[in-house]
């Protein structure tokens, strides 16, 4: 057996665990998307289930919906944030760190605004929560939506502030979007995970808009 030990391949532990951390970030972000989909999935099921049952004709008897204007603003902010951030992230990968920083802060502002609008909308509903099936589902949906938006904005903020505070380290070797340094690769993996998660939520937001404001 001794020859096995002697001939064993050299394992670069630092590289091994660096790659494992990158893989974990990939899986962590995809799992977060799965969790978001299943969490909203329950509420979307409630929407269709109660709508199809229409118990006592009380799904939406007076056709009262939440403010379409605010709903449109929220959707616009979320989509705008996702687009600006995605473009910034693409620019980062081509070497322009400052473009992502500007885009990231704009996306952060839009995202926080969307979360804020959603909370504000809850305070000025034109229906009582128990007035209809629609009312109940909307009151259930809105806090979850705003919390998930704000959690994504927390994620984006930590990325932005991390780059701002560690730019000298992260931005060396041609820029954080290009550098082969482990910290830069880790940052990019984290950013890529965020981009996927935030874009996924923005696509779901279109569905929510259709369900709660159009149909």
């Amino acid at each position: 057996m001794s020859e096995i030990t002697e001939d064993r391949p050299a394992v670069d532990e630092e590289q091994l665990y660096h790659e494992a951390a990158l893989g974990s970030l990939w899986w962590g972000s995809r799992i977060s998307i799965a969790l978001t989909i299943t969490a909203f999935g329950g509420l979307v099921f409630a929407y269709f289930y109660l709508r199809s049952l229409n118990s006592h004709g009380l799904w939406d008897p007076h056709h009262q919906t939440a403010s379409v204007l605010l709903g449109s603003l929220i959707l616009a902010c979320v989509l705008g944030s996702a687009i600006v951030q995605s473009v910034g992230a693409r620019r980062l990968r081509s070497g322009s760190t400052i473009d992502w920083l500007v885009g990231g802060f704009v996306a952060l502002g839009l995202g926080v605004l969307a979360g804020g609008f959603q909370i504000w909308e809850l305070t000025r509903l034109n229906f009582f929560p128990g007035a209809s099936g629609y009312g109940g589902v909307f009151v259930a949906f809105a806090p979850v939506y705003s919390i998930i938006i704000l959690l994504h904005m927390y994620w984006l903020e930590t990325l932005l502030v991390r780059l701002v505070r560690n730019r000298a380290v992260l931005d060396g070797d041609g820029g954080v979007g290009i550098s082969r340094q482990p910290k830069a690769e880790n940052f990019r993996a984290n950013l890529e995970g965020f981009t996927y998660a935030w874009n996924a939520l923005s696509i779901m937001s279109i569905l929510f808009f259709v369900l709660f404001y159009v149909l």
């Binding site: 057996m1 096995i4 391949p9 670069d12 630092e14 899986w27 969790l35 329950g42 409630a46 007035a131």
Partner: protein, 645 residues
């Protein structure tokens, strides 16, 4: 090249210490967590009461659910703040990297009362946490059986009785979801796959620290009127209940969050942190079971949390999602709950089967039979578990045309279950079986699950389901699958891995006394309940027909004896770890699995001196020409259990 763990580098690669610095009592620990929780509860309750002053319907109700929820939510925040769990997320908000404190190398018993990032410490925390859960819920079971000693003479009032039933059921179901993944998934799986760490140590730690607070909240329901809806929490009863129902919502919800955190970590760890050479075809079967479990939890538990959230809104925000009179439907709860609830049954069974399939080859001294089939069985169980939930609603007034479909899907699930059963039987076939204590418990799982599994096929059939629905027959069925399956596997795993985890060997003689008393009294308790159910006794009632008194008394006395067997385990387990402390020999069971080839028992910080390279399959028992499982085997085999040459 050694890894420099001294600096954290952000999410996914950080090993920075949790909590802040400082020493003494103010260092983040369970004490500061409790202080934070008490302050949080007082603050939240006060805010909740102030916030709802103008709400007539709440003030006039005699119970303020909003204040109750606010109190608990602030208590949870205070608890985690006190533990130091929030320091890192707040530091990240300001771009401050975590301090270098070598958290994984902390020594002494006090580390078990802190928010720690060492997966082995978390595993031990989970083990004792789950035992506390199990024994508390077990005492509640004895309270139920005491009441049922007589058909008409009562120990408890009807309300108290049903509260105890609800607490017992909910606590057991909450505990069972974590009982294998928590202690053994967290402790052993990273070692089995040759990793020095886990993917998300903070999520792992968080998952454990959710459990004490959920335990306390759930238990507090007993002195707040309890929840008479039982563990299934059916609406509209659960909407109409007093504040005790809030403890069910929060306790169950927190346990759900705990499992989401634990699953995310275990999935990412198994996929990414396997040692070089640990290909998918060499992954231990327990790894496959944990992976299937993790994915099933990730896809089912958010739906439970949705259901609990909807219930909470109906109780606080005055929505009417579960009340058809205002456009909702109580069936919404049933669907959301059982979409989680039936996969949950497999969340309990899968890790139990994983333990059995992992341990049996060690004592059969031959390779596991049909390894790939066992992995396929776990994956099949996980997938099919999402397509069976409507069988819980056969009696609810569902569309009768849907019944055969869900009967079929439920029967189909017996196929992957059969795979796993046959893997065990094939492994035992013509084996040189060593009847050690862990092996006896694993064989006990097969014996018990035969009753639980076969009766499961019957109760999935519509005609029988309609006949035995809500009776003790169904109760006996699921106790055979869950307690007879996963709890027997859990105890077997304790006996199996205690030498590794503690460095002490448990007595075989005492272990066998525990096993034989437990399996005899377990069967003596639950087998007659099939008859009780068929004779017409429904669940959750505290008065019954006189003709069933003998059977019920038999069951109650058997339950006391089963309790005595478990008490015997608790006493001897603590006694052997605290007093007699018989040192173990290295690799006492002769296992080929990688966790036994660490330098010392218990394993040192970061598990391995260097990353092992896996050379062969871990189940090559009985083959003298088999390669060692990894290149570190020769380096550690001559060491004594504390790591000396």
């Amino acid at each position: 090249m050694a890894i420099d763990y001294s600096k954290a580098t952000g999410t996914g690669s950080s090993s920075g210490a949790p909590g802040g610095g400082g020493g003494g009592l103010l260092r983040p620990s369970i004490i500061t967590g409790i202080i934070g929780g008490v302050i949080g509860w007082l603050l939240g309750h006060w805010i909740g009461n102030s916030f709802t002053q103008g709400y007539q319907q709440v003030q006039g109700s005699g119970s303020n659910d909003i204040a109750e929820f606010m109190g608990y939510i602030f208590m949870i925040i205070g608890w985690f703040a006190g533990l130091g769990a929030l320091n890192y997320p707040i530091q990240k908000l300001f771009g401050v990297e975590a301090e270098a404190e070598e958290p994984v190398t902390e020594k002494g018993w006090t580390k078990y009362f802190r928010y720690t990032l060492d997966h082995k410490t978390v595993g031990v925390q989970y083990l004792f946490g789950m035992l506390v859960y199990f024994f508390t819920a077990g005492l509640l079971a004895l309270a139920i059986r005491t009441e049922l000693l007589s058909p008409t003479y009562h120990i408890w009032s009807p309300d108290t009785y049903i509260e105890i039933v609800g607490e017992h059921g909910t606590m057991m179901m909450m505990m069972m979801t974590s009982v294998v993944l928590g202690p053994f998934g967290n402790y052993v799986v990273p070692l089995m796959i040759g990793s020095k760490r886990v993917a998300f140590p903070r999520l792992e730690a968080l998952s454990f620290w959710f459990t004490p607070i959920s335990y306390f909240i759930l238990l507090s329901g007993l002195w707040q009127g309890g929840f008479q809806s039982g563990w299934t929490g059916y609406a509209p009863l659960s909407v109409q209940q007093g504040v005790g129902q809030d403890t069910y919502i929060l306790g169950f919800g927190l346990q759900g969050l705990s499992m989401v955190c634990a699953s995310t970590n275990i999935v990412a760890t198994i996929i990414n942190y396997r040692a070089p050479g640990m290909s998918w075809s060499r992954l231990p079967v327990m790894g496959w079971s944990m992976l299937s479990l993790g994915f099933t939890m990730i896809l089912s538990i958010p739906v439970l949390i949705d259901g609990l959230y909807v219930l909470a809104l109906d109780r606080t925000a005055q929505t009417s999602l579960l009340y058809s009179g205002h456009g909702g439907s109580s069936f919404l709860w049933e669907n959301l709950f059982w979409f989680f609830g039936h996969p949950e049954v497999y969340l309990l069974a899968i890790p139990g089967f994983g333990l059995v399939a992992e341990i049996i080859p060690v004592f059969a001294r031959k390779p596991i039979f049909a390894y790939k089939t066992s992995a396929a069985g776990f994956i099949g169980l996980a997938i099919l578990s999402f397509f069976v939930w409507q069988h819980h609603l056969f009696q609810s007034g569902m569309n009768p045309d849907m019944r055969p479909l869900f009967m079929l899907t439920t029967e189909l699930i017996s196929i992957p279950t059969g795979f796993i059963y046959l893997v065990g039987m094939g492994t035992l076939w013509r084996a040189r079986i060593r009847l050690t204590t862990p092996m006896l418990f694993m064989l006990g799982v097969y014996f018990n699950f035969l009753f639980g599994g076969l009766t499961g096929v019957y109760v999935s059939d519509v005609p029988i389901n309609v006949t035995v629905h809500g009776s003790f027959f169904v109760m006996a069925h699921f106790h055979y699958t869950i307690m007879g399956g996963v709890i027997f596997a859990f105890f077997g795993a304790i006996y199996y891995w205690t030498p590794l985890v503690t460095g002490y060997q448990l007595s075989e003689k005492l272990g066998k006394i525990h096993f034989w008393t437990m399996i005899i009294f377990f069967n003596s308790t639950f087998l007659p309940l099939f008859a009780v159910g068929l004779l017409g006794m429904p669940r959750r009632v505290f008065e019954y027909a006189h003709r069933l008194q003998f059977l019920n008394q038999w069951v109650s006395i058997s339950a006391y004896l089963l309790g005595a067997s478990l008490l015997f385990f608790a006493v001897t387990f603590v006694w052997q770890l605290a007093v007699t402390r018989k040192p173990t020999v290295r690799n006492p069971w002769g296992s080929r699995s990688l966790e036994w080839y660490v330098e010392s028992y218990p394993p040192p910080a970061y598990n391995f001196k260097r990353v092992p390279v896996v050379l062969s399959w871990p189940y090559e028992y009985g083959d003298p020409n088999a390669l060692p499982v990894a290149d570190i085997v020769n380096e550690t085999k001559d060491l004594d259990p504390v790591g000396r040459a």
